[in-house]
Symmetry: C2
Subunit: 162 residues, 2 copies
């Protein structure tokens, strides 16, 4: 597993144009939103934020762009243990390898890395001869804070809107 450097926004756009993909205002907005995000965004949030930059952007365009970026390996899709419905979350993919710990107590998502994870990937390649294209590791449970206090079972709620 060769760790790729994290590409900046330009690199992402360049990557697309160099592959002959047309850059529209909507796609530019969505890429910007994803790269500027400090949290994991679902399709609805992506839509809302993209509309802040390009009003009138449509839901379908968001899904089509997600599909596009996934195909080019530029974003990763997460489930985050379905802590809040069955939607998916997205993040720019070329970051340092990490995975997510979703707390059932407070709803917080923690990022985590472990050298052993690299070893797992190496094992998959060498032992199973499996050529990994995407890999996803997620855990659900109680974060250190919630595990400490026995009675922290209030789920965090998220406002819903289209």
């Amino acid at each position: 597993m060769t760790p790729r450097p994290r590409p900046d926004r330009r690199a992402l756009l360049d990557e697309l144009t160099s592959r002959g993909v047309r850059i529209t205002a909507q796609r530019r907005a969505l890429i910007a939103v994803i790269q500027d995000a400090n949290r994991h965004l679902d399709a609805a949030s992506l839509l809302q934020l993209a509309r802040g930059r390009v009003p009138g952007t449509n839901r379908a365009t968001v899904y089509r762009t997600i599909e596009l970026l996934k195909r080019f390996g530029l974003i990763d899709e997460l489930d985050l243990m379905h802590l809040d419905g069955e939607k998916h979350y997205y993040e720019a993919s070329a970051r340092r390898d990490h995975f997510h710990l979703a707390c059932f107590g407070c709803g917080r998502i923690e990022e985590f890395t472990s050298p052993a994870f690299e070893q797992v990937k190496a094992d998959i390649s060498s032992q199973a001869g499996f050529e990994i294209r995407v890999i996803r590791l997620e855990a659900g449970g109680l974060c250190s804070m919630c595990a400490g206090s026995a009675e922290t079972s209030r789920r965090r709620e998220t406002p819903k809107k289209d």
Copy 2:
């Protein structure tokens, strides 16, 4: 992480009754179906197979039973890289720890174990202080057969534009 022995059907039922859960014909059928399964089943297959044992079993009951078994940690939910839609797949959870490799070429699901995976879990506990309740590792890519032959790996080449 102590590897648990694989419980037989009786143990699963006993586990439920001992926890005060009522055993209905539908639940019995669903548990039997899950334990006898030699493949990963989605809700629709579960429904169909359960109806073979208890005709008239309803879709809602399947989902409610899945929810129940998940809550009791008796089954695990898988996505299998969404190789075929967004549905979920289920398997009895108390088997030897393993994870799944989903081949984009032939669609086959391979099971895999690695001691390094145990190490990852240990790291999560000791370093993050995170109390794991469920953990899911899935990889998508090309299995050894599909990676070998350039033919089979139709999805390996540069993704097409949208």
